[in-house]
């Protein structure tokens, strides 16, 4: 079933749609949507080639999932997930290379990189903030 036909069926109503008041462009919650936006380009279910980027379990690294061209009707085998635990530069590079060398959804390249860097940024250690604490003991000593 072609992705265009599928999109026509789905575009207004599907399980992951989020339409809210005062929000003109609906969001979409499906797994492989890079921008979580309801649009035929970013939809994670309709298309034959799809890229998804999720944070890896354990708080470090990202998981890149993509749909293989084969096994379009076998959901188990269709989605391939690769974990990238290396640092941010390597992770982003691996995404970039994957997209470019396989020519896999080049229109998603920037979105994929942005999502990955947002995830990686959130995984960085938070800078230590010295909280202002009143140490009564010290005052007493003085």
């Amino acid at each position: 079933m072609s992705s265009d036909l599928c999109w026509q069926v789905i575009r207004n109503n599907h399980a992951n749609l989020l339409k809210k008041r005062n929000v003109s462009k609906p969001f979409s919650k499906e797994a492989n949507n890079l921008k979580n936006v309801n649009s035929p380009r970013y939809n994670g279910l309709c298309r034959r080639k799809v890229i998804g980027i999720e944070p890896a379990s354990g708080g470090k690294g990202i998981i890149i999932s993509h749909k293989t061209a084969k096994y379009q009707n076998k959901p188990v085998k269709n989605l391939v997930k690769t974990t990238v635990k290396a640092g941010p530069r390597r992770a982003l590079n691996s995404i970039r290379r994957f997209i470019r060398h396989n020519s896999y959804r080049k229109d998603l390249k920037m979105a994929a990189l942005r999502r990955a860097s947002a995830i990686l940024r959130s995984q960085r250690a938070q800078p230590f903030k010295k909280s202002r604490r009143r140490t009564y003991k010290a005052v007493k000593k003085e």
């Binding site: 079933m1 072609s2 992705s3 265009d4 599928c6 069926v9 399980a15 279910l45």
Partner: protein, 319 residues
């Protein structure tokens, strides 16, 4: 189609009219609405017969002869059924309906006929787990909740999601095995129900077919080459587009040969310079201006020089 299961409801046809009320007319310092006759009770003197009155009849009382059911043509129903069955074969559509089929080995999921002989719910659960359909049932469990609104008081208290639909050919215990699993419905191929295949009017329910049920589909609905054997004179509907892949169509030879080249030049906004202040702009518009200006400056210089000379002469003369 869901309207066909409705039971009529209506207000009692006498409601609000079981009084002999008459208006008191004017002159009595009350509103002119008909009032109940007689005396001795609360009711006497109260308004009646109006939708605004307490105890009066409602506006447009509901009648039992409202058109509750809808007739739908056979062909339309078959078209819908056939489209719904087709939709269950597309993993994208089934997932978009919300079914958890990420782990299911193949869509459409066809299972051996042994399933029809299952008699214990335990076995049924095991079968669903083996085929990775259990996550969908788990989702049903999680979605059990109370209905919001007055439906609670009207015998529609609890709601839950729909789970997988098992389609069988011969029931040898299957319905009883799957009966108690929440969300799971069972249906015989010969009696496919659109309300079960596309619940809520949205196509793409997760269906599990038994082998013989799946094989029967051809004889039930036909293939385009052969007519249906079970339905008189019926064949699958012709699709509006044989090839729906827009991208493919647009890149095809036939279309690309007729297109002109894409215009890749980017036209950017030009800053307009004022020719009265910008010499370059002026010269673009009026190239003769160069000559004019030159002449003008030349004559101006001449005048300046002449004046200077004159002044000098005058100065000298004064001396």
């Amino acid at each position: 189609m869901a309207k066909n299961r409705r039971q009529p409801y209506a207000v009692n046809k006498d409601a609000g009219h079981q009084t002999s009320a008459e208006s008191w007319g004017t002159g009595r310092a009350v509103a002119r609405i008909p009032r109940v006759r007689g005396g001795g009770t609360h009711r006497s003197g109260q308004g009646a017969f109006g939708n605004m009155c307490r105890g009066g009849r409602m506006f447009a009382p509901t009648k039992t002869w409202r058109r509750w059911h809808r007739k739908i043509g056979v062909n339309q129903k078959r078209y819908a059924m056939v489209s719904a069955i087709a939709a269950t074969s597309s993993p994208a559509l089934v997932m978009s309906k919300g079914h958890m089929i990420q782990e299911v080995p193949e869509v459409p999921l066809v299972v051996s006929d042994k399933v029809q002989e299952l008699s214990k719910t335990k076995e049924a659960v095991l079968m669903l787990k083996k085929h990775r359909a259990w996550t969908d049932v788990l989702k049903v469990y999680k979605s059990k909740r109370f209905r919001p609104g007055k439906g609670k008081m009207r015998n529609r208290r609890r709601i839950q999601r729909r789970g997988p639909l098992i389609i069988y050919n011969k029931d040898q215990g299957l319905t009883r095995a799957f009966r108690n699993i929440p969300g799971v419905d069972t249906i015989c191929v010969e009696k496919l129900n659109l309300l079960k295949l596309a619940p809520g009017g949205h196509v793409g329910r997760f269906c599990i077919w038994t082998e013989s049920a799946f094989r029967k589909l051809d004889s039930l609905y036909g293939t385009w080459r052969k007519e249906s054997r079970r339905k008189k004179n019926y064949n699958l509907p012709m699709p509006k587009m044989t090839n729906t892949d827009l991208a493919r169509i647009l890149k095809s030879e036939e279309i690309q040969a007729v297109l002109r080249n894409p215009k890749k030049t980017v036209v950017r906004r030009q800053v307009k310079n004022n020719p009265l202040r910008n010499r370059h702009a002026l010269l673009q518009l009026n190239p003769y201006a160069k000559v004019e200006k030159k002449r003008a400056t030349a004559s101006q210089n001449k005048h300046i020089k002449a004046k200077a000379k004159l002044l000098a002469k005058q100065a000298e003369a004064k001396k």
